[in-house]
């Protein structure tokens, strides 16, 4: 590994200098296709690199480059070979001065010279589209602006490149088509950008030199801007704190999410009129940017869901329960409960709302006991996604049973920080070990399981009933003593005289 690292570092400098070193092989992009699906707070970008290996055999490492703009917004990135399900190993190298880009390396399976491969890079950008105009009236349509670089950054030569931007509806107000882009557009194309319905296509651009590096970017790189209408509320989750608590005695897994959501659409200009909202509903023309409810998909077989905020129970929610599927084999299927939560008030642009949602689930649904090792394994999803929402800050707290030992936590993706503390709750004597995972800039795809393994000694299991019975015994003992001991000063006779 160390060798590879060293090689990579060497290779990167080599790339940026744009001369293929002998120890590292170079590539050529025969065709690059980028598809951007515009949305609300999340934007999906799929980039397909058809590559050809050049030079001699060597460590097969392909370098991806992200501009500063993209790096900042990319919340999720995974790389696959076309047709395969397995993700390739992606390593982050941070900002490279010479390339003027953030570099990532992908380890590819061995390739012969001139062999080709297709790499698919899926990424999700959060908060890439911004409302423009920034404030609108209640009944106005909601317009968003999205900007990205015209040329995809790559340290390799590119033969052909095309960018497709797909708006959610054909209501595209405007899009930019900088004339300078025709430099690489070739002779066949009439213009650098064509639009058909909701799709805007830029390119194809041909025979691009490596696009990383300041000189090229200064000279040729342009920003593409699409201004489009988006007709559902733009929700983003400012913070999401999940806590999962295990009780072996109660055979229960309690999950509780404290969520702060915000409507990231354009700010409301002027005032909110309930009349207009009610009228628009009556005339069946609902205001598009108003968030009235959220439907969350909760696991099947849960019970006692609750939904409240800091001033009490929120009375406006609906819960549709799906019983747990009987056979364990079908667990992955669509069987799940739905919670339709309504914020206390409709959320207009720029409005905030916080709530707490929780439920109980049978422990058996997510925990197993390995008899050989004596270990419990519990899997809990990192979060329940709010559909289409970017998550800015998330914490995941896992409270283990009292006295748990050998705790091992396996997060589904690299997290920013992991810490431990002791959580004390009902009838604990020494408190429960708890693990906190922190992460930021997540999307609704970050729903992988956090796996926790631990052991609980028998005496820890028995601690609780012993404590309670000791306390009760002590109480009765005191009551007995109190009744039997005469604490009056003087004898009973003198006391009675009074």
């Amino acid at each position: 590994m160390g060798l590879i690292h060293w090689l990579l570092a060497a290779a990167l400098t080599a790339h940026s200098a744009q001369c293929a070193s002998t120890s590292m092989r170079s590539f050529e992009n025969t065709n690059v296709q980028r598809t951007i699906e515009l949305g609300g707070s999340l934007t999906h970008v799929t980039t397909t690199f058809a590559i050809k290996a050049l030079g001699e055999l060597g460590p097969n490492v392909y370098t991806l480059a992200l501009s500063e703009l993209d790096e900042e917004k990319t919340a999720l990135m995974d790389v696959k070979l076309k047709g395969s399900k397995e993700t390739l190993k992606l390593e982050k190298f941070g900002f490279n001065q010479k390339s003027n880009a953030y570099l990532y390396s992908v380890e590819l399976p061995p390739m012969a010279e001139d062999a080709t491969a297709t790499i698919v890079v899926n990424s999700i950008l959060s908060h890439a589209s911004t409302p423009f105009p920034e404030s609108i009236k209640q009944a106005d349509p909601q317009l968003l602006k999205f900007s990205t670089e015209a040329y995809i950054l790559s340290p390799y030569r590119t033969l052909s490149e095309r960018t497709k931007i797909r708006a959610p509806s054909p209501k595209v107000t405007s899009f930019s088509a900088p004339a300078e882009l025709s430099k690489y557009a070739g002779t066949t194309a009439d213009s650098v950008a064509t639009r058909s319905g909701a799709v805007i296509t830029y390119g194809p651009f041909q025979d691009l030199p490596p696009t990383t590096g300041l000189p090229f970017q200064r000279e040729n790189q342009k920003l593409l801007t699409v201004h489009y209408e988006y007709d559902s509320p733009i929700i983003s989750v400012v913070s999401l704190d999940r806590s999962a608590e295990i009780s072996h005695w109660g055979d229960n897994l309690n999950i509780q999410d404290s969520v702060h959501i915000r409507n990231d659409g354009p700010q409301l200009k002027g005032h909110f009129s309930r009349l207009e909202l009610q009228q628009s509903r009556y005339f069946n023309k609902p205001s598009t940017q108003v968030l009235t409810h959220l439907t969350l998909q909760l696991p099947a077989g849960i019970h006692k869901p609750y939904y409240y905020d800091s001033i009490g129970n929120v009375t406006t929610s609906r819960y549709r329960q799906t019983p747990k599927p009987k056979s364990n084999t079908k667990r992955s299927s669509a069987a799940s409960s739905f919670m339709e939560i309504r914020p206390r008030y409709p959320l207009l642009g720029g409005w905030n709302y916080t709530y707490t949602l929780g439920w109980d689930a049978p422990l058996g649904d997510s925990a197993t006991f390995d008899k050989k090792t004596g270990k419990y394994v519990v899997g809990v999803p990192f979060m329940t996604p709010v559909p289409g929402a970017a998550v800015d800050q998330a914490t995941f707290t896992f409270v283990l049973p009292e006295g748990a030992e050998n705790v091992h936590v396996e997060p589904p993706f690299p997290v920013d920080a992991m810490s431990k503390y002791t959580h004390i709750t009902y009838l604990d004597t020494i408190g429960r070990p708890a693990v906190v995972l922190r992460s930021s800039s997540l999307t609704d795809q970050h729903t992988g399981m956090v796996y926790v393994t631990y052991t609980v000694p028998v005496k820890a299991h028995l601690a609780k009933p012993l404590t309670v019975s000791t306390a009760m015994f002590g109480f009765f003992l005191l009551a007995m003593l109190f009744r039997r001991v005469d604490m009056r000063i003087g004898t009973a006779k003198t006391a009675k005289k009074h």
Binding site: G270, N313, Y426, H498
Partner: protein
């Protein structure tokens, strides 16, 4: 069975019975939690809850020194010095104790469940008190009665987190300790009474009731010639320790020695010293004349003391009775002089049906119990009699004082019922056959009129040779009593669940399909304020909602339910009563960003601001009689109207405009209807120039308006709006504002 076993069994049964009674008392108070949720009710409890949270999170010293800049903006409020901290301290102690034993109960749940928990203790203390009056069976009966009597439940359902929640327990327990101190002449119990008296002082303004009841009892005993060293020891230890302790509460401070309400206690204390001195001298001197002389001297000194108090009051050394106190003697007083007190519905005189609703049959049995007290007339019975008389009077004057009447009604009724049952369950038949026929006829004759019964019966039970014959009379009376008790229980449950278990923050209603739904507009609007306005945005509303805004929306308010500053409240009233142009500068001066009004017109919620508007006008005109005139709001025929016949002042007032802004548009043209006042609204609704609608809740109950910032061009908003609406201004009509060129 051995007597020891019997004693132990009885004691065990007693404990079980008391626990069951406490359980019943707690359970019957949980309707609100089950029907709605664990939520703080009404208005005042929201402040107590907020204060408790401060106490729980920041500790006692922070709480003690808490200055709240968000209340009574811009004046602020020294909370630590202007509240009775007993309630919050109690919850804080419970909360911290539970946390210490690793039961991290939410502070809100502690607050919500405090009143039911203390009602269990009240049942126990009433048992102790009644046991001193009669016996244990009467005590148990009294415990049941107080446990479920609606008069007490009305103030102690789960979520009703108010001072009364713990005060009734303290009241009964202090009285019990006083009786105990008096009976035994024990300084220990006197001091205990003083400690609980201190707790009571720290918990509720109604402590004055104890402050006057105990001296009155002592005075009556002295006048009855029942002075004893027991009385002297009990009273002196209670008064000395209790008064000193009560002065430790900052809100009370030096009141115990400077205000009229406390003078009686001091006077009786002095009198007792004199009487004690007299008794001392009498025990040494045998001359009868000397005795008389001393008595006259005592009376003279007493009178002199009284005159001194009067003179001191005149001079202003002792504060005279407060307005609230006067209104106890003259029910019309508040209406004339302090409208802010009269505007509170719970300060109104009690209507007759309220007695029945709150006490049911107990109100009929109560006099019997009091009468039975005359039978033995021990010192403690005198106390019950005085208590009964005083509390009856006060309960008649003010609805909320029904609360102080309820315990004595329960005690007296328990004595009466218990005596009745004792007589009729007693299996012993009289031996003498001669007397028999007359008694039976008397018994059967009177069994139909149950309340009359106990008096005659218990008189007979004194004579060993008289009594009851046969089973039929016994069964008839016992069955009748049980039947009445059963009806009482049903009534209590019904009243509790229907009348006293609504949180008033959340309203129950029915959805179109018949399923139960809740109207949650208040919390909707308050939460909107909390989440979407700047933290320092000042909200103006009528004082009723001040505590709720502070508690739920967490925003500064101009006035709140503390009502200590009449002028400030009048300012708010004036702003609501005046026109937009006049109100705007007033609001600007007070940094108001949002104005909150309540409108029940859409869903018939009758407690809205327009219905309270007359009180606002009255209070405002009390301070500014020239600017706000009540008559301007009435039609020439003297009606309070909101339709097209409304007076100009009315329809231009801020309250009217804010209530009905764009309300008419909900209905078809000419169809707009106010469902609370049952009036048809004018076709054209009011317009607003200086305010913007910021939020309206789902059922239009709460409407929040934003105060517009000053116009950018320095025009007034009316001109600016007219200009942007495209209206040309008429030449020379509108005075142009001049700008200085420098």
């Amino acid at each position: 069975m051995a007597p020891e076993t019997v004693k132990n069994t009885a004691s065990f049964i007693k404990i079980v019975a008391l626990s069951v009674i406490a359980g019943a008392a707690i359970a019957s108070r949980l309707f609100a939690v089950i029907n709605f949720e664990s939520i703080i009710h009404e208005f005042d409890p929201w402040f107590n809850y907020r204060a408790t949270r401060v106490l729980a999170s920041k500790g006692f010293y922070e709480f003690w020194n808490w200055f709240d800049p968000t209340a009574w903006y811009p004046l602020g409020r020294v909370v630590g010095g202007t509240i009775f901290p007993g309630l919050m301290a109690t919850s804080g102690v419970i909360f911290n104790f539970l946390r210490a034993i690793h039961l991290p109960v939410d502070i809100r749940n502690v607050c919500v469940m405090l009143a039911p928990a203390f009602s269990g203790l009240t049942a126990w203390s009433t048992y102790m008190f009644t046991r001193e009056m009669k016996d244990e069976s009467a005590g148990l009966l009294a415990a049941i009665l107080i446990g479920i009597a609606p008069g007490y439940i009305s103030r102690s359902v789960a979520g009703s987190y108010d001072n009364e929640a713990i005060a009734i327990f303290l009241l009964m327990f202090t009285f019990y300790l006083w009786i105990k101190a008096l009976k035994q002449g024990s300084a220990f119990f006197g001091t205990m009474a003083a400690i609980f008296y201190f707790y009571m002082v720290a918990a509720w303004g109604g402590y004055v009731f104890i402050t006057n009841m105990i001296p009155l009892h002592a005075l009556v005993l002295v006048l009855m010639g029942r002075y004893s060293s027991r009385l002297y020891v009990g009273y002196s230890s209670w008064y000395a320790v209790g008064t000193l302790a009560s002065m430790q509460v900052p809100f009370v401070g030096f009141q115990p020695v400077t205000t009229s309400e406390h003078m009686a206690a001091l006077g009786v204390f002095g009198l007792l010293q004199l009487v004690a001195f007299t008794e001392l001298v009498r025990s040494h001197v045998s001359s009868k004349q000397f005795q008389t002389l001393l008595r006259t001297a005592a009376v003279t000194i007493g009178l002199l003391g009284f005159v001194a108090v009067v003179v001191l009051t005149m001079k202003g050394w002792i504060a005279p009775w407060t307005g609230r106190f006067y209104s106890l003697w003259d029910t019309g007083y508040a209406k004339k002089h302090i409208p802010i007190i009269a505007s509170v519905s719970e300060h109104q005189p009690t209507a007759w049906p309220a007695f029945f609703a709150d006490l049911h049959i107990l109100i009929f049995i109560f006099p019997v119990g009091v009468l039975l007290c005359f039978q033995k007339l021990r010192d403690e019975h005198v106390f019950v009699i005085i208590y009964a008389i005083m509390a009856s009077y006060f309960a008649g004057v003010m609805v909320r004082l029904m609360l102080t009447l309820t315990p004595v009604v329960c005690v007296a009724a328990a004595i009466a019922i218990s005596t009745l049952l004792d007589t009729y369950i007693d299996p012993q038949e009289p031996e003498s056959t001669e007397v028999a026929p007359t008694t039976t006829s008397e018994a059967t004759g009177s069994s139909t009129a149950a309340p009359k019964e106990p008096k005659t019966k218990s008189k007979e039970s004194k004579a060993p040779k008289t009594g009851l014959f046969g089973l039929d009379t016994r069964l008839a009376v016992i069955f009748n009593t049980f039947f009445l008790m059963l009806i009482f229980v049903l009534h209590c449950t019904w009243t509790t669940s229907h009348a006293y278990s609504s949180p008033s923050v959340v309203l129950a209603s029915r959805a179109a399909d018949g399923s139960s739904a809740v109207i949650d507009d208040f919390r909707e609007a308050y939460y909107w304020l909390r989440q979407n306005t700047p933290k320092d945005a000042v909200v103006m509303s009528w004082w009723d909602y001040g505590y709720q805004i502070a508690g739920m929306a967490d925003r500064p308010t101009l006035v709140d339910n503390n009502t200590w500053n009449n002028t400030h409240i009048a300012t708010v009233g004036k702003a609501f009563a005046s026109s937009e142009e006049n109100a705007y500068p007033l609001l600007k001066k007070h940094d108001v960003s949002y104005v909150l009004v309540l409108l029940g017109s859409l869903i018939q919620y009758s407690g809205d601001d327009l219905n309270k508007f007359l009180w606002m006008i009255r209070i405002a005109s009390g301070v500014w009689p020239d600017e706000v005139k009540e008559t301007d709001f009435f039609t020439p025929r003297g009606e309070f109207r909101v339709d097209e016949h409304a007076t100009k002042t009315m329809s231009e007032s801020l309250m009217y405009k804010m209530s009905y802004y764009r309300f008419q548009e909900l209905f078809g043209p000419g169809q707009a209807q106010d469902r609370v006042r049952n009036q048809k609204l004018p076709t054209v609704g009011p317009t607003l120039d200086y305010f913007d609608e910021a939020f309206t809740s789902e059922n239009w109950i709460v409407r929040i308006y934003e105060v517009k910032p000053d116009d950018e061009l320095g025009r007034d908003h009316k001109t600016a709006n007219a200009y942007s609406a495209g209206k040309k201004r008429k030449k020379g009509r509108v005075a142009r504002r001049r700008f200085a060129l420098e």
